[in-house]
Amino acid sequence: MSDAQPPTTPPAPTVAEARGSIRRAVLYWAILTVVLELAFILLAPYLTAWQILPPAAGDRSDEINTVMWLFSVLSLPVFAMVVVFALYSASAWGSRARPRAQGPAMLVSSRFIGWWLAISVVLVVFLYVYGLAFLAQVDARPTSNVLRVSVNGEQWLWNYSYPQYGDVGGSELWLVVNRPTTFTITSSDVQHSFWIPAFDIKQDAVPGEPTSISVTPKQLGDYQVRCAELCGIYHSYMETPVHVVTQDVFDAQVANLPPAAPPAASSLVPIQLATSAQAVVPRRDTAGLAEG
């Protein structure tokens, strides 16, 4: 035996001690839950300022942050329960020595299981209904004053064009603050995923299958589109800026945009970087990676 064996092992807990321990463990559980909840609730408002959450710049950002906030609040007691009951048992009755006696033959009662299942079901149903309520908003498409943007992913660029403005476009995205926007997204080659973390939206760009998503930008500023689906060598550089501006600035900007190149014919050729016409824009100090 490699485990050390001190001469004595702790005595078996009596029933009265067991009642005491369940009270203590529940108390610890409550304390840990309150501490975790307080810490979380007090710190949560600062998460955006500390850049732990992206800026809540889209119309659904606040709601999604609320969803995640609520899930966190509900998760902490569950986490605390597992931790407290496991660690309490290990510390109160645990020993590195081989036990000489056995524990009590406790079996769960059907009533206990009934309560456990009931609470689980209530939690799941609550989460589900809550999620459903927001699902409708995810799928909602604005109808009036909509800015329509065509998005085309190709290795490793996002190309945008504005069908309402004579199909002008480029590889930087310009949006109007407070104006509902619907993106129609597709891809020329492999799958990409169109993600603007600041707006809490994401939609895959699938070759041959146009998809769409809507958002209303709520804050002026510059944000990032990031590709969220591994799409080849320069996947990590497939990022382009998003500029959220006023309608006036947007109009002036769009007037200067060239007509968008027609989307590259849907193609899937082995990548020849040396001859690729596609520019890979190194956005950081990684010069030397771009070949085209």
Partner: protein
Amino acid sequence: MSAAHAADTPTYNARQLLVPSYLTGAILGIVGFLIGHWYVAQYIGVGHDEAGPNFTEQALVIGYILALVGWLIGIGAFKYPITWLLARREPDHEEDLRLAGAGQGWVRYFRFTTDHKVVGIQYLVLVLIMLGLGGLGAFLIRSELARPGALLYPPNTYNTIVTMHGMLMILATITFFIGPFGNFVVPIMIGARDMAFPRLNALSFALLVPAVVIFLSIPWLGLGQSAGTGGGLQTGWTFYGPIADQTGIGATAFAFSVLLAGTSSILGGINVIVTIVTMRTRGMRWTRLPMTVWGIFGSALLVAIGTSSFTADLFLILLDRVWNTSFFYVATGGNSVGQGGGNAWLSQNLFWFFGHPEVYVIVLPAFGIVMDLIAIFSRKPLFGYKTGVIGIMGVVVLSFLVWQHHEFVSGWAPELRFWYMATTELISIPTGLVFLVALGTIWRGRVWLTVPMAFAIAFLWNFVVGGLTGVFLSDVPADVQLHGGMFVVSHFHFTIVGGSLMGFFAAVYFWFPKMTGRMMDARLGWIHFWLANIGFNIAFLAIMVAGLQGMPRRVADYDPVFATPNLIASIFAYVLIAGVAVFFFNVVYSWVAGEKAAANPWGALSLEWQVPTPVPLENFEQIPVVTTGPYDYGEPAAATPGIEHAAGGEVAG
């Protein structure tokens, strides 16, 4: 370990040692590959104006097929079937024993051997090698991601490492319960002399070896081609349709080797199912199976059904790449060989119909093992046997009904999301039952804090974090933000590393004495435990923060805004890796020089601890008859153990 058999045949001549063996298998495998490659070059290449676009791929695949045949001949896989088929008779008992490795000493570990214990040990060693190489991948990934910028390798090399880390770890984790423990432990646990299909069992391991070898050749394939075109894999382990068609020649090797490994898993899964259903000894009712057996049973059901879908996907990709079909070639215009019009979502659906059950393949045995170990080391009966079984089997059923949650943002079938959101959240209910049983069992136990018990407790802690973060991802609105980002990476590492891998460590520490005859060193075990758990938790909490910040996954380089959590993650990933390195050292050290183990060092009641160590070739002198369950601990009921042949089963020693 082989002492019992060494006594049978003290001497071997060189021919007996070498033929058949993995050495002859390797030689014939290489010869087969060269013949296949040469044949394609000579006769298929001729007639084309130039070697067509897929010519190298065809040569590779035909080479692999002949290599596989050569390997199987070389290790002796066909020897006995051919002997009997030609002789037109059943093998007698002695021939069966010889096929199972009787009297062959250590050589039996290096050839086609049907004894389930030999196969179990073979699996254990292979799985440890795979985990080690996958861990090397993790080390390379975290090194690159420690700081922003392309630090160490160009992005295509990084993508190759990410892909290989992912798939190697998946192959290892899918195998690491069913392989070593499903083979070595389960038949003894249920009172059988071997698996239901011993030769199929040996075959499933024999297929996994070439699969791993071919897989490990990927980084060297296409190296001669210019940078960016051929070398490596740009797909990720998900290996989605269009990009798997596009990426370099390594993808052909990937598809072939994983197809082989998948076939091996399906055969292994079917074998485990049939063994548990049909080979239980008298009195080993369904309600007396140890939870480990239930967990592995559920896992095998998922493997047998789910993996088929992935192998189909890989097969279609192989056809696309090698024989110019267009299942996933989406290009509308078509290319020079007329490929086009495929569907990009098909691959995702085939993949995730396997991919989601697959994570339960990995975790269900851990559920069972953790419940088992907690009962044994708390010296208490399970808090609720049927509750635990319902938990495991509930997950089995639900796990096939949730895969669309990987498609929440793909645009495929958005009208189904409300339904898959429901099934995904429902799966928390059976999982919760497993936790209820585990916590109820440890409560008021006579808790023996051994290394395996510590890992079982760590499983609970880590897995609950994985489960709770899963709730965020099951919710469509939150998933729209978190999908495809580092939050997902953190979530599934909490379930697979924090959960299943800790369960695997627990299982290794627990059954190592039975499998090798030696105890694992406890002091090294505790060092391993603390390093691994502290490193793991901090590293992946940091990765979770990076995900909340909006960092995409599988990126070779990232915006400096994500720098802090990534640096923390890399530092603590090194701590985790150091812990696992201690584990590997411990395995080797203890196997060679560990303390000799008693037959039942933990005082467990299940059957595998009632047979001597090392376990005799046919496990039991007499097939045991079981009269009570494996958890008859507790005062005062378990004064007498109910298993016949169980010498002092009650807290023995």
